[in-house]
Subunit: 338 residues, 2 copies
């Protein structure tokens, strides 16, 4: 029997379509898991090719002579430019603004073949680079909102294979984020608590949609998950802004992220995916009603005309079944699979 | 120089990314345009296989003995079911409802190889079937909103090749539609006119983003178009609901839609696309502040982590360039190309 579920945070409805239901196993990619070469001569992100990229913004050195663990560089095909004034133009119904902004690439490893889930704890250096850039750019008053994200695989929009993530700092706050803040504020005003904190406690109590819970983070399938295996990782401690994460939490998040990505890699055979950090804009960093999280979206299905035309999603995998499937995947098998 | 543009209706920002800019020609699919077989024995939508589909809901007869132009049937893999009560369940932060609803398939032609843009005026029968079903289902008080849509090609989510569209009638109004209504109402309350009517007049005056204008319809690229070649077709007459379209307008819309789809077919070589009718829910059919339209989205690019993480889109084709490109495509060449 199909069911409609409403996302409490966005108020959006999702159809959980049991007539079209798929067991989680049916979405396995059936790809052969093989590591690409560790070094590709033509790859601009491989060591030795540092001069092929735009200027370096920062690097995490590796300790060894002149080498690095993580490099942050300007995006060669930047969507926004630091050299434009964010001046607004209003002409009748048309509103525009100069395309001011920052667009970084975070090269996650010198190893072209590196798979996030196969790393030991080195992903912590990537998260530290995210935070360093986030903190630095949050001080720029022209910047309204920062999005940190990763595209893995061509279905997820990745054009280069070498593991990397991106950061875009924009001079506006999107309407979608404005609306989510409005919903979160309404909840706070009515109940006097952060709705994300409340939901995490409910999910810990119920357990059915949990994937992992550690000292500092909880990874779960949402009750009204819009797409199969889409997951959120929430910090247990109330924080509106990713910029407030502390060093111990960064270490824990690196482990949780590696485990979750490892479960996807092994359980679904290296699906294409995106992840992004959903954080409060800098000017709202201290608010009691919003809670940052990391959203992971495996790209296993296509958005079609119904979703585009109605704003509603059809999810063919029961979130509780997806959570159970992922709880049972052992990412330690990743090393062998890779 | 990149530019940020804000959609006046949704308030959403779009990055028009000129550093990554593509000339419209660069998005041509380079597919070979070839018609599939006119009849496929195993296709459930081909004539003679009518018993392979769920019960017929309605048909437009062709005049000839026992044959049909258009058939409407229940979807074999329906997302929602007419046999479930739309009862709401509220438990802490979780809201759900029985998956009540109607899910039709509209088989657009008995000809498996039929291409919308190659038809003469027969698409009018498809639009009449849309309206007949829309009108009938609008009378059902359990139904809150009806979405009519088409998926063409695998990248657009189509699983069957035989030309067809779909209709889903749901017992809820999506939050996205609620928000668009709220924006439209705010504009009306401030200016005393429908913001869509106002924008269509502005665009007719300026001309740069127009693709076609006929007696009853205007097809244009939006100023803040989120994806390349995405188009809207607006009726000139103010109507909130698709159900208010009259027979003369249906004939004109069939011609406009055929021309637009023909321009895409010829100009971009049969790109995968979705279209959907964005209409007021039945209970708002008479409102002065909302205006229905048909939205066409060619699936030429992938949504990636930035879009998923921020709600903002990056469009690599200037809407004015896309409109000019499409104005210059002659869909009459479709017959030869097909």
């Amino acid at each position: 029997m199909p069911e409609l579920r409403q996302n409490y945070f966005t108020k959006e409805w999702v159809i959980i379509a049991t007539e079209r239901a798929k067991r989680p196993e049916e979405l396995v990619t059936h790809r052969t898991l093989k590591a690409p070469a560790r070094y590709v001569e033509t790859c601009p992100f491989c060591p030795g090719n540092e001069n092929k990229t735009p200027p370096e913004v920062m690097r995490v050195p590796s300790g060894a002579n002149g080498t690095w663990q993580v490099r942050v560089i300007a995006n060669k095909f930047a969507a926004l430019s630091p050299d434009i004034k964010p001046t607004r133009v209003i002409h009748r119904s048309r509103r525009s603004m100069g395309g001011f902004g920052i667009h970084d690439v975070i090269v996650e490893s010198p190893n072209h073949a590196h798979v996030t889930c196969l790393m030991t704890d080195t992903h912590v250096a990537v998260l530290r680079a995210y935070k360093a850039r986030y903190d630095a750019l949050s001080l720029d008053r022209r910047i309204a909102h920062i999005t940190i994200f990763k595209n893995h695989g061509t279905d997820a929009g990745a054009s280069l294979e070498h593991p990397h993530s991106q950061l875009i700092a924009a001079p506006v706050i999107s309407q979608q984020i404005r609306e989510r803040f409005q919903q979160a504020l309404s909840h706070y005003d009515e109940y006097g608590e952060c709705m994300f904190c409340q939901m995490v406690q409910e999910e810990l109590g119920e357990g059915k949609r949990l994937v992992i819970a550690t000292d500092h983070f909880v990874a779960l399938q949402q009750f009204a998950s819009p797409t199969p295996f889409c997951m959120h990782i929430y910090p247990r401690r109330h924080m509106a802004s990713f910029g407030d994460i502390n060093p111990e939490e960064i270490g824990d998040l690196a482990r949780v992220l590696r485990t979750i990505l490892g479960k996807l890699y092994v359980g679904l055979q290296d699906p294409d995916f995106n992840y992004s950090i959903r954080t409060a804009p800098a000017e709202y960093a201290g608010v009691k009603y919003f809670h940052w999280y990391l959203s992971i979206i495996p790209r296993l299905t296509r958005v079609a005309g119904f979703e585009l035309g109605s704003g509603m999603f059809i999810n063919t995998v029961l979130p509780e079944a997806a959570a159970e499937f992922l709880r049972n995947v052992k990412p330690e098998n990743a090393a062998r699979a890779g």
